[in-house]
């Protein structure tokens, strides 16, 4: 029999969407023999335009925002220097490695994990492509509080705002005024729709031509669910607040254990456990967390905030492995 784990490794929302959204997805399921209509896709774009305060014609849909990030790097890194932060959302590193002929990483260092904006700006010109996730994954830190200094250099700037709903800081509405700015967002996280994979790009004018014809026919159940979700986003706000409260509680408990935990503006926490191979140790205890041995070191973990019970189980397991380690 397969072992059952508490899944805190993918930054999913632990609460399912309201029943109305599930019923809409079911409606899509009962029409699975049909492609998603253009009308539904247009409706979704209209609603995302209202939600993100960005013009509809600047919105490009995709099955997950990671595909859009990948496409942006693929299309615009060719004759440019691609600048990313380190650590960052793994698909960004991966796409830069695969497509960008000339790359520079900017290391985010403890204890603040802040982005050294002035050093970044000194490096930029019209031949630069900057890709930054803000809040940053895995640190949870807000890296960009403004964009003027960057976009004024003429550099292309792509911001991944997968955790926008948790941080409240986003730049989508500036896209119409800055042709070299693009923002990716997702309904995977705060909207409880990870299984629907609705990602979208809000792209400045410079990028739009290259995305002509990119719109994919997203699966019908996901589109119906997303439309229903955007009709009333109260549940999102409620769940986000619940997660933030839980995040604060977990952070406080982890601090009591005497190990490093960093301020977060997302639905996850970065923890420096002091235990080698911490992710593997937690897996043995029945909790899946994200292993950061390839980005920071094996004592670091990224843990998603789950339900209260899940978080309690995680805290107990973490305390256990820390105590075991201190006797080694």
């Amino acid at each position: 029999m397969l072992k059952k784990y508490i899944k805190l490794n993918m930054n999913e929302m632990p609460y399912p969407p309201p029943i109305g959204i599930i019923n809409s997805a079911k409606k899509g399921l009962s029409n699975l023999n049909r492609y998603t209509s253009q009308k539904s896709l247009e409706m979704l774009k209209n609603m995302l335009s209202d939600y993100s305060k960005a013009p509809k014609e600047h919105i490009i849909l995709s099955s997950g925002s990671d595909l859009l990030i990948r496409e942006m790097i693929h299309l615009f890194s060719k004759r440019r220097k691609t600048i990313v932060v380190d650590p960052t959302f793994f698909p960004i590193t991966q796409a830069a490695k695969q497509f960008a002929p000339n790359t520079m990483k900017i290391r985010l260092s403890e204890p603040s994990f802040d982005l050294p904006i002035s050093y970044l700006v000194d490096e930029l010109n019209e031949q630069s492509l900057v890709v930054i996730d803000s809040p940053n994954n895995p640190t949870g830190n807000i890296l960009l509080k403004g964009i003027e200094d960057i976009v004024e250099t003429g550099a292309y700037l792509l911001i991944d705002e997968a955790y926008y709903e948790f941080s409240g800081i986003g730049f989508a509405e500036f896209v119409k005024d800055h042709p070299n700015l693009a923002v990716t967002r997702t309904m995977d996280k705060a909207f409880s729709l990870a299984g629907a994979r609705i990602g979208y790009l809000i792209a400045g004018k410079t990028f739009l031509n290259d995305f002509l014809g990119f719109d994919t026919f997203l699966p019908l159940p996901g589109v119906y669910a997303a439309i229903e979700a955007l009709k009333n986003i109260d549940y999102v706000k409620k769940n986000v607040n619940k997660i933030i409260d839980e995040r604060k509680r977990v952070q406080k408990e982890v601090t009591k254990m005497g190990i490093g935990v960093y301020p977060s503006n997302t639905n996850f926490l970065l923890i420096k456990t002091g235990v080698p191979d911490a992710a593997r140790e937690l897996k043995k205890a029945g909790v899946l967390v994200f292993d950061l041995s390839n980005q920071l070191s094996s004592e670091f973990i990224r843990v998603s905030i789950g339900t209260k019970d899940e978080n309690n189980f995680f805290l107990l397991s973490l305390e256990k492995i820390i105590n075991q380690n201190s006797f080694k």
Binding site: N102, T103, R107, Y119, S297
Partner: protein, 366 residues
């Protein structure tokens, strides 16, 4: 009041600028013949000047230039322990440390890996120590990252802080001079545990396929960018050696070699040799790699690049190279040139070439 011991190894670090890679045994006499200047006086004075709670310390010190002289200079009261021979040796360090250990709460020593070994032999885990870095070889993790950091550790100890056992490593100096790096774990010393103030021990060079590919990429990148008008000074390490290997040049693995127009024009250079070349060549660049595990780019393992050399060449002419696997475990790079002023000019972010047309910008701290 805390009772704190002070032992300074007056010959530690003297081999660095003259390229001797250590002063264990009789090598310090050779260093003297080569006009090497003592390093420890300045390091000890710098260290003492940063201790904030110095009034709360009762010092027990080794005599003369092994400690007493520096405390006398700053008008701090002290008690002298033991006596020393005219030509101080490891035996003096051990003897005094053994005598001191019963009288003190904490022992401070100024020196390198060799001194750490002597302190370990005499003190072991009986009393905590603070190690002020002042040697040529400093691969042990007992050392503070700088004299200033060591002073902060003393202040923390006075206020009360946790202790941790850290490694005492030593490198076989004869093997080191013959281009081989062989580290032995001698044992552990108890140190006040403030992670950001302690250096990590040296990590072994990686030889996995991915790292080797990265080193090859770095070499390709550097060679492509090389300018025939510029003299390149390649620091120690396997990452820099990958470049000279690709140029079919035989590099001193643990020394500094000079390359001009893709030919060797200087081998295993000391400070004097480097300064001579600086007079001859107008444009000079240093190519260095951080020490794996602790991130030092200057001040550990490449003391031939003295602060005078670095000041003359300038930050803009320093090329740092290193594989991503090496950088992954480093939160920042470090410098400890012996001059706080030069260290400060190197502070801030610096680019590290990590592969072919791949760079990482990373913070340098001191």
């Amino acid at each position: 009041m805390k009772r704190i011991g002070l032992i300074v190894n007056p010959v530690a670090g003297m081999g660095g600028s003259v390229g001797l890679k250590g002063t264990d045994g009789n090598m310090y006499k050779k260093a003297l013949e080569m006009n090497a200047k003592p390093i420890t006086p300045e390091r000890t004075k710098e260290f003492l000047s940063y201790i904030k709670n110095i009034e709360n310390i009762t010092f027990f010190t080794a005599p003369g230039r092994m400690g007493e002289d520096y405390l006398r200079e700053i008008n701090i009261s002290f008690k002298v322990v033991g006596s020393i021979s005219e030509n101080v040796s490891a035996e003096d360090t051990k003897k005094i440390a053994e005598e001191m250990v019963k009288k003190i709460d904490l022992l401070i020593f100024v020196g390198g890996d060799g001194t750490a070994r002597d302190i370990y032999d005499a003190v072991g885990l009986k009393k905590p120590v603070v190690a002020v870095p002042s040697g040529v070889k400093m691969f042990s993790s007992v050392f503070a990252v700088s004299p200033r950091a060591a002073a902060e550790m003393v202040d923390s100890f006075i206020k009360g802080t946790d202790l941790k056992e850290e490694e005492v490593l030593d490198i076989d100096e004869d093997a080191f001079r013959n281009n081989k790096l062989s580290a032995t774990l001698y044992g552990y010393l108890n140190v006040p545990y403030i992670k950001r103030l302690l250096q990590s021990g040296k990590e072994a060079s990686r030889t996995d396929k991915h790292t080797m590919e990265d080193k090859e990429g770095i070499a390709r990148h550097i060679i492509e960018e090389m300018d025939d008008e510029i003299l390149y000074l390649f620091g120690p390490g396997t990452t820099t050696k990958a470049i000279t290997d690709k140029l079919n040049l035989s590099k001193t693995l643990l020394g500094v070699d000079a390359v001009f127009k893709r030919k060797l024009v200087g081998k295993d250079l000391n400070e004097e040799g480097i300064l001579k070349l600086l007079k001859k060549y107008n444009k000079v660049r240093i190519v260095i790699t951080p020490i794996g595990g602790n991130g030092f780019i200057f001040g550990r393992g490449n003391k031939q690049f003295t602060f005078d050399v670095i000041r003359r060449i300038g930050k803009e002419n320093i090329i740092v190279i290193g594989t991503e696997s090496k950088l992954r475990n480093l939160n920042c790079l470090r410098v400890d040139t012996g001059s706080l002023e030069v260290d400060k000019t190197l502070q801030g972010y610096i680019k590290v070439v990590t592969g072919y047309r791949e760079e990482m910008m990373i913070e340098v701290r001191c």
